[in-house]
């Protein structure tokens, strides 16, 4: 984490890029507010995936990690924050790596949305296990996954829904901005 931040600082990045990262992070936090009433059904991951897709790996990571970190200031900070940061960060990075195929075919995007939802849920279950049993414990991990199944489904479903709904308007507008201002 620290290494990524240090790398970002060393490189000479465009001001516009930095502002875009900040804007996308703020947007995903706001989206968490809009859907605050519905548990687990949030467009956050979808927005992070789109950021990774259109702005690259680093932006995806920053957006994911900072979304988790900063939105928890509104929703409650806790020992889960680092785990959320890493999970969302990885989701963003992977989206950046797969960018070209994600942009080309919608079915790949849908599959990635599902995989990202499942990954996020399983990653957070590692936290639950470490937490409840204060150590590695396979049975506890399986129990945690089993209890979190509805959440896993909700995460995956919300990712797919929001990715499908947001991909086109987002892609069009971000593409236009990137083209217009040469970012």
């Amino acid at each position: 984490m620290v290494l990524v931040l240090a790398r970002l600082d060393k490189r000479k990045t465009n001001v516009r890029r930095i502002v875009l990262i900040a804007v996308m992070t703020a947007l995903s936090i706001v989206s968490r507010f809009i859907f605050a009433a519905v548990p687990a059904f949030k467009p956050m991951a979808a927005i992070i995936i789109l950021t990774g897709m259109y702005l690259g790996c680093e932006a995806g990571f920053m957006c994911g990690a900072l979304t988790a970190f900063l939105s928890n200031f509104y929703f409650g900070q806790g020992p889960w924050t680092p785990f959320q940061m890493v999970a969302f960060g990885l989701v963003g990075v992977t989206a950046g790596l797969l960018a070209s195929s994600l942009k080309k075919r919608r079915i790949v995007l849908v599959i990635y949305g599902i995989v990202a939802g499942i990954f996020y849920s399983f990653f957070m279950d590692i936290w639950t296990m470490l937490w409840a049993y204060s150590g590695l414990n396979l049975a506890g991990y399986i129990a945690a996954i089993a209890t979190a199944v509805p959440y896993t489904v909700l995460y995956a479903a919300s990712n797919v829904v929001f990715l499908l709904l947001l991909e086109r308007p987002f892609g069009r507008r971000l593409g236009r901005i990137i083209h217009k201002y040469r970012i």
Partner: protein, 289 residues
């Protein structure tokens, strides 16, 4: 007093109180840490708010204990059989103990998020990664701004009668229209922001952030005491002063002088900010009387 601590010493303090009790593995220490956190919480938040969240802190260990005893059947003291599964006292006690640990970490995290405000985070990030600090500060500004903007946008559309009434499907479509318009504005606005940043000389030369906090004597005291007590506690953890066995039988560690001293040290550290707050308040009252 506590909110005026230097971010570094505050970070050290909270790292100590959040992480250390979790590694002791001793339910008595968890309880101690939880109680100290509760005292500090009562000192910082209005007591009604704290009292309301007390139910959570009571229910949580019981829930975890029940969950643990349903999945774990080790232990020698069998309470009863449930569908042929052994429900043991040890598993229940272990659950209670982990629940207490969860409680203690939760309560200290809550205090952390209360005291560790945006300016302190900015300060800490600004020293080692100015760009991240910049992004964070922009995000913290953008979030309330966007919420206001979305509301304004929605109200305008409603007033014009473009959307707002009709079936659920139409309303959802309206929301998406708003979102689309908002998105266009957002991206253009971000470009304007970045242009204005460049125009004002961002990235033109090496700059340093204005230092908001200074390291006072109270910070030095806190740092020294926390580090001393952390060292002693870690020594105790390594030598197994706190080690408690749960399976197959609950074995508490023998009462020892080291464990006692470690407990006292923890109490001293975790009570320091509260004590400073109370002393400060008394002083203030005296000057007014």
């Amino acid at each position: 007093m506590t909110e005026r601590l230097h971010p570094v010493s505050m970070m050290i303090f909270f790292l100590f109180t959040i992480i250390l009790p979790a590694f002791t593995g001793n339910p008595c220490f968890y309880l101690l840490s939880f109680l100290m956190g509760l005292i500090m919480l009562f000192n910082t938040l209005p007591s009604r708010t704290v009292a309301r969240s007390l139910t959570l802190y009571i229910v949580l260990p019981v829930l975890i204990a029940c969950f643990n005893s349903l999945f774990y059947h080790d232990g020698s003291t069998i309470l009863f059989y449930l569908n042929g599964m052994r429900i043991t006292f040890e598993a229940f006690a272990y659950g209670m103990s982990s629940g207490l640990m969860v409680n203690s970490v939760l309560i200290w995290c809550r205090l952390l998020s209360h005291y560790f405000t945006g300016d302190k985070i900015m300060y800490l990030f600004g020293t080692f990664s100015p760009k991240t600090a910049l992004i964070i500060s922009m995000v913290l500004r953008f979030v309330p701004m966007y919420r206001e903007h979305i509301d304004a946008y929605r109200n305008t559309q409603k007033l014009l009668g473009i959307y707002g009434e009709g079936t659920l499907f139409e309303r959802i479509r309206g929301e998406f229209k708003i979102f689309g318009g908002f998105l266009s504005w957002l991206l253009e606005h971000s470009m304007t922001t970045s242009d204005s940043m460049t125009a004002r000389g961002y990235g033109a030369a090496r700059r340093r952030a204005f230092k908001l906090f200074s390291f006072k004597s109270f910070d030095t005291v806190i740092c020294i005491i926390v580090l001393l007590s952390a060292g002693f506690n870690i020594y105790c953890i390594i030598t197994g002063v706190f080690r408690t066995e749960f399976y197959p039988m609950i074995i508490f560690p023998p009462l020892s002088l080291n464990g006692f001293i470690a407990g006292i040290m923890f109490i001293t550290v975790s009570a320091l900010p509260t004590a400073a707050d109370i002393i400060y308040r008394i002083k203030c009252r005296k000057t007014y009387e």
